[in-house]
Subunit: 213 residues, 2 copies
């Protein structure tokens, strides 16, 4: 059992999702950021809290039982809307818009604000790991061999400043069910954190995969 | 320059912060979760968006210029309220309440919901890395040797289910400015992801540290 589901949806459905949920989730992201940075009075904080709870109750009037999950359609397009790094509907996701290049290089340009802080003014080391796990996983998939993370090794060369950042990753080679991928995240001066990962084709996908080889 | 600041605050101030901001940030976390899971109509989504934007504008009427930063007081207590894993005011943080044991073992029990999903029903591999980076860093600090992440190596033994989880970490040994730490995250059946990390005492802290040795 993979947990992945099949669902019929068209490109027009995906565009409609973007039009509706991108500004909605951006609004929640803005609130998360303001929650960290606001210096308004305790009374104003409490008033905001009550209003947020009321909005949440209305949104929960009809909701999925558990997490969002991931559904694919017949063309192999996905709706990973709950994903913590790229999810269209997940305000925890910065989000990181990942582009798959024709040569298997995946890249992303994105901005990390106050909600992604570890040491003062710097990206939390674990946030760099979070983003790199997703980048390397997508690079494995872009090479034609999607997989679950087996191992991930991160080398922190210097602090990653909050602000505008770049990341990239690429699969380097394969051995059996394993794909080896490397990548980095960094700022305008180059890499700050480098990653190496081994991604493993899940058992349930191996039969499927063998049809294409 | 460390970026860490000195600020006068008392234990009573910290308690007041908890009383005000814990329920406030929990309210934002609830909204983030509902944002992923809600199945209300597009009209209701748009109405919620407009209200969220209005609340955010009020919270931003007075706010910090940049990120929250980390301030310590004279007793060495901190307010890392913007931290992505433990921050009291950061709705990206699950949060993970980390307890320092007397023997240097740091532990945490926490719940990860829909906003922390990677594969369907499972914790995003990078979220496990995010939490373990913080756990291992705190274990280094709990051993008397705080540090920045130098390397972090993660071994994924099986999928981590969304829900109730446990994590722990402990420093194993030191060599010069390096602390070696290991830990894991897991469910009721035991570890799902294991981590080894090397944490490096920052240059600016070395002189300070030498006073205690």
């Amino acid at each position: 059992m993979s947990g992945y589901e099949f669902e019929e949806f068209t490109d027009a459905d995906l565009e409609a999702d973007q039009a509706l949920y991108r500004p909605f989730t951006d609004a929640i992201r803005g609130l998360v950021d303001a929650g960290v940075r606001s210096t308004v009075s305790p009374e104003e904080i409490r008033a905001a809290q009550a209003e947020i709870e009321a909005i949440t109750a209305r949104l929960r009037a009809s909701q999925r039982e558990g997490s969002y999950g991931v559904a694919f359609n017949g063309s192999g397009k996905a709706r990973p809307y709950g994903n913590s790094v790229v999810g269209l509907r997940n305000a925890v996701a910065p989000p990181v818009p990942i582009t798959w290049g024709p040569d298997g290089l995946v890249t992303a340009d994105f901005t990390l604000g106050a909600a992604y802080e570890g040491p003062p003014g710097l990206v939390h080391g674990g946030v760099s790991a979070l983003i790199l796990d997703q980048m390397l996983g997508e690079a494995a998939a872009a090479s034609g061999r999607p997989g679950m993370t087996g191992t991930l090794t991160l080398r922190y060369e210097r602090g990653t400043p909050l602000g505008r950042l770049h990341a990239e990753a690429k699969a380097t080679h394969r051995a059996g069910v394993k794909s080896f991928v490397s990548g980095w995240i960094g700022d305008a001066d180059g890499p700050t954190v480098r990653a190496e990962g081994v991604f493993i084709l899940p058992r349930w996908a191996r039969k499927e995969q063998s049809r294409f080889e």
